[in-house]
């Protein structure tokens, strides 16, 4: 039982290092889209929410799960769409301005 937890902890710590490594390379000018984009990734709780909402265990658990699904989807869809909106502006490079 505890070994299971330790394995999860190992994955967590290693992923943390990957995250630190990758994110340090993001330039300051992209920090706002980085935040909203990584925010969308944290909407990955949608997985947990979906499982909990779909198990049909108890009525209360299902209700909480469905609200969780809605919350997580706001996070996911809102995060990705708003990030795309911002990055689209960064892509636009008017050639006229030299």
């Amino acid at each position: 039982m505890m070994e299971g937890l330790v394995i999860l902890l190992v994955i967590f710590v290693l992923a943390m290092f990957v995250g630190l490594e990758v994110v340090t390379k993001v330039p300051a000018r992209l920090h706002t889209p980085l935040m909203s984009g990584s925010n969308a990734i944290s909407g990955i709780t949608i997985i947990g929410s979906t499982v909990v909402a779909g198990l049909g265990a108890t009525k209360l658990a299902t209700v909480l799960g469905v609200i969780a699904v809605a919350f997580a989807m706001i996070n996911v869809v809102g995060g990705y769409v708003v990030t795309d909106r911002m990055l689209q502006m960064f892509k636009k490079k008017p050639e006229g301005g030299k």
Binding site: V23, H31, G37, T45, G48, T50, A70, M73, V82
Partner: protein
């Protein structure tokens, strides 16, 4: 099937990492974000294949409502309101984690039965972190939107009270480990988490919100990771850790840019300190004298300069003047003036905010420079045009040890040959070495300057 689902999560995690990696350059960032979204889609589809899921209709209903709201928010939000937006999204992520924890607890709780220790600890962590993130983010967003007072709200024994609340929440979690069948204790723990979220953010001043938003970003990742521990899901853990790391880095960067320690931001009540010391900050600076200027004079200075560096601050965004800045820059460039933009790390209300605002006004990003890149260039610059910025150019940060911003890295505008400040009110603390000062709302100043530049007066 279970292996297939695990592989789907692995694919999703890999796509998230590649997506974040592509954020390293504006040219690839959009494609990276798209890849990340594809990863999310794979993860969701994979989850729906889980054979433990028996009813789909409610998932669809919840998902549709959430997606609709998210889409609407993302489309409607103004770029100036991006910090609030990120705060609210953070909050919903945290709220989802808390709800998953609560739902799992309710499902697994049998009167008299003991939860496995690891599951129980994960559930309590998930609800606690999720609750703090949810409530804290909503308060932070409220402060940024000015629904909640932006000034630090302080009351006696605040930190002590928070500590008691935190220990109380932890104690309730412990108690539940021994006797799990107590829904009222679990509910009380959730309330404590929410209350703690509110109380942790409410004493922090509006100026420190960028740090808080970064920190809550990190929390929302950690909340997702703890949810992963609850349901033993590797995908959640990896993704949560990535976001947690990202938030930690941004928090550090923000703290460094303001020369504040992390604990100082959280417990300092910084906004209060600034209000108390008023504008005394700049007295140590050798004043070169401030005088009012006219738009005509500013136009002359700018029009005959060889190089101009624009220093935008949040005031620019408040006045929605980024488009006028761009217009002015275009006029100047037509005259052969070299125009650059100097972006301080804390310009705007969140990391990188000013870059987004200028990108919205179609300023090409190669013209935007970070503080370290541009500071050496001020010496050879004819005019520094400071628009709606205070602290980030205040020399008090360099030479007034008792100033609240002392030690904060600043843009060296005072090294430029001329400095023009465009702002509504001239705070004596920050005007130590301004040479010229425009009056009136700055978008009007811009229009006036543009009019003079277009006219033959500056031929």
């Amino acid at each position: 099937m279970a292996a297939l689902i695990e592989l789907a999560y692995l694919a999703a995690a890999a796509l998230f990492i590649i997506g974040l990696k592509r954020m390293a350059s504006p040219a690839t960032a959009r494609a990276g974000n798209f890849l990340s979204a594809v990863g999310m889609l794979i993860a969701i589809v994979g989850t729906l294949l889980d054979r433990h899921i028996v009813s789909f209709q409610w998932i669809v209903v919840g998902g549709a409502i959430g997606s609709g709201l998210g889409l609407w928010m993302a489309r409607a939000v103004r770029m100036t309101a991006m910090p609030q937006m990120v705060g609210i999204l953070n909050g919903f992520g945290g709220g989802a984690s808390q709800l998953v924890g609560a739902a799992e607890w309710h499902r697994l709780m049998q009167p008299g039965a003991l939860l496995p220790l690891d599951t129980a600890v994960s559930i309590y962590m998930s609800t606690l972190i999720g609750g703090v993130t949810f409530a804290g983010s909503m308060v932070a967003a409220g402060k940024l939107q000015e629904i909640v007072p932006g000034r630090p709200v302080l009351f006696p024994f605040q930190h002590l009270f928070n500590l008691v609340l935190f220990l109380g929440g932890a104690a309730m979690g412990m108690y539940l480990l021994i006797s799990p069948g107590r829904p009222e204790v679990f509910a009380a723990m959730n309330v404590a988490a929410l209350l703690l979220g509110v109380l942790l953010v409410i004493p922090i001043g509006g100026a420190d919100m960028p740090v808080v938003i970064c920190l809550l970003n990190s929390y929302s990742g950690l909340a997702a990771a703890t949810t992963g521990f609850v349901i033993s899901n590797h995908g959640l853990i990896i993704s949560g850790a990535l976001v947690g790391a990202s938030g930690i880095i941004l928090t550090q960067i923000m703290c460094r840019a303001m020369n504040r320690s992390f604990t100082n931001v959280l417990f300092g009540g910084f906004g209060a300190a600034i209000a108390a010391s008023g504008g005394s900050g700049g007295r140590g600076a050798a004043p070169r004298g401030v005088r009012e200027t006219s738009a005509e004079e500013a136009a002359l200075l700018l029009g005959y300069a060889r190089s101009v560096i624009v220093v935008p601050g949040y005031g620019l965004a408040v006045a929605q003047a980024q488009h006028q800045v761009r217009e002015l820059a275009d006029l100047l460039e037509k005259r052969g003036v070299e125009v650059k933009y100097a972006i301080h790390p804390v310009a705007g209300r969140m990391p990188g905010h000013m870059n987004v605002l200028l990108a919205e006004a179609n300023v090409p990003y190669p013209k935007l420079f970070d503080m370290e890149q541009i500071n050496p260039a001020f010496e050879w610059t004819d005019v520094a045009l400071v628009v709606g910025a205070n602290d980030v150019v205040n020399p008090a940060a360099r030479n007034t040890p008792n100033s609240p911003i002392y030690g904060m890295p600043i843009l060296d505008v005072d090294k430029a040959r001329h400095v023009i400040f465009l702002k509504r009110s001239l705070n004596p603390g920050f005007a130590g070495n301004s040479v010229l000062h425009g009056s009136g709302p700055c978008d009007q100043d811009f229009r006036a300057i543009c009019v003079y530049l277009r006219s033959s007066a500056v031929a």
